[in-house]
């Protein structure tokens, strides 16, 4: 049985490390390379980098930064933000980041995803779905960093992605982002039941129990978190942290045996 993956998500904005609340008010936390160094020493399961301005402000993909990360970090690495062409993907993979996460471009052009999966293999192509509940409680998919409502149904769209053969689907709950109120378990459970591929839960995690619920109740394959790994205490002081691997192992094995 795969060991549950616990993944810090690092948001980048103009080469700085930031954290948002409900995709808004990015708070500057510091130099992302410092955070990466700490996570590397902690031997984290995986790292995800998302550049939150690359698409909305049409900024360049931070290739130099990614290169620096890949030269020092020997763990699974994924990058998302502003990926629009097969050439973008080729360059990122060549640097040594083995997974790209596509969001806005997936809604616009499914053929692009199809071609990317064909050229680079399923395992290199993940799609992240930014999801928000509307006034009536219906889930809707957003693009451009949460700015544009695509009006698409996340579950229906995820099934299409599953058929096309993407390697992973990351669900990002806009409502829960940065709130530390726990994952949207209902959304994660619906998504996990609908697709074959691994689902990464993201948005709202505050405790190890949240991880347990997302994995063992809702069926996610991996759990991602931002605030939990970069803030400490109720005043949200910046402190990069990650549970000890031995503690994670003990926690999950205890939960699994129940």
């Amino acid at each position: 049985m795969a060991i549950p993956r616990v993944i810090p998500v690092l948001l980048l904005k103009n080469a700085g490390l930031v954290k948002t609340v409900q995709f808004k008010e990015p708070k500057y936390l510091g130099d992302p390379l410092n955070a990466v160094k700490i996570f590397n020493e902690k031997e984290v399961d995986e790292l995800i980098f998302l550049d939150i301005l690359a698409t909305p402000e049409k900024r360049a993909i931070p290739f130099e930064f990614l290169k620096e990360v890949a030269e020092e970090c020997f763990m699974p690495l994924a990058y998302g933000g502003g990926i629009k062409t097969l050439e973008d993907i080729r360059v990122i993979l060549k640097i040594g980041i083995e997974k790209v996460i596509i969001n806005s471009q997936a809604y616009k052009d499914l053929d692009f995803i199809r071609e990317a999966v064909y050229q680079f293999g399923s395992s290199s192509i993940a799609v992240s779905l930014d999801v928000k509940k509307n006034f009536w409680g219906k889930y809707e998919l957003f693009s451009e960093g949460g700015r544009t409502n695509t009006k698409k149904d996340p579950i229906v769209f995820a099934k299409e992605l599953d058929t096309i053969g993407v390697g992973e689907i990351m669900i990002n709950s806009i409502d829960r982002d940065g709130t530390m109120k726990g994952y949207d378990l209902d959304l994660i459970a619906k998504m996990s039941a609908a697709v074959q591929v691994p689902v990464i839960a993201c948005g709202g995690a505050a405790t190890l129990d949240d991880f347990d619920k997302a994995i063992n109740q809702a069926g996610a394959s991996a759990v991602a978190a931002g605030s939990m790994f970069v803030f400490h205490g109720k005043h949200r002081a910046v402190l990069i942290s990650y549970p000890e691997q031995a503690d994670l192992k003990q926690f999950f094995s205890k939960k699994a045996s129940k």
């Binding site: 049985m1 795969a2 690495l77 680079f120 395992s123 591929v197 689902v199 069926g219 394959s221």
Partner: protein, 205 residues
């Protein structure tokens, strides 16, 4: 010279990065002269089996690799798809594999279990050692590695299996037949465990 064979598939940069980190220079190349002069070879690969065999064929690498590996006994490490290409055949395709080891590549079947096992199998997994391969010398306790695959290798000769792992069922996650070594996981993405394994490949073979 250590050559990481570039046949148009996979994440070659991170293997070179890790080798540099542990103190070994390497070249990413499909150049016949360079491969001919190599003292160690690594065949990585992410992608489909037939595409892999086709790309090796198109680059004229199959006879050269057969000579290097089978006659000259140059140590070679296959990683992920690279490992699978060493087998006789794969359920993923119709082309014949390199057949350097008596094994087959089989698709994970998650329909026979009640529990949900997403495919591809993606994530960290513990491995169990079988025998005493120098590839695993002085390995850290409870070694775990990062896997990404939808197919797995089944060896005919159990004494060639050096590592097993468990996903849906037990499968062979590492093999060795003299100078021919393969691992299903990605050592270049597996922190200190991967560094140890690659250091062993560099120094013990």
């Amino acid at each position: 010279m250590i050559v990481i064979i570039d046949y148009g598939l996979g994440n070659l940069g991170s293997i070179k990065n890790m080798l540099r980190k542990i103190g070994f220079d390497s070249e990413i190349s499909a150049d016949h002269n360079l491969i001919q002069s190599a003292t160690k070879l690594i065949l990585p690969g992410v992608g489909a089996f037939d595409q892999g065999m086709k790309n090796l064929e198109e680059r004229g690498l199959i006879p050269l690799l057969n000579k290097k590996v089978l006659e000259e006994k140059t140590p070679i490490l296959g990683i992920c798809l690279g490992m699978q290409l060493f087998t006789n055949k794969s359920e993923e395709g119709t082309l014949k594999g390199l057949s350097w080891i008596d094994a087959e590549t089989i698709k994970f079947d998650s329909t026979k279990t009640d529990k949900k096992f997403p495919i591809p199998h993606m994530g960290w997994e513990y491995v169990s050692e079988k025998g005493n391969s120098p590839l695993l010398q002085d390995m850290y306790e409870e070694p775990k590695f990062y896997f990404v695959h939808s197919y797995y290798v089944k060896c005919k000769n159990s004494d060639e299996v050096i590592l097993t792992s468990d996903y849906i069922h037990e499968f062979d996650s590492g093999f060795q037949k003299e100078n021919i070594l393969g691992v299903q996981f990605h050592p270049e993405k597996s922190h200190k465990y991967g560094m140890k394994l690659l250091t062993n490949f560099m120094t013990n073979f």
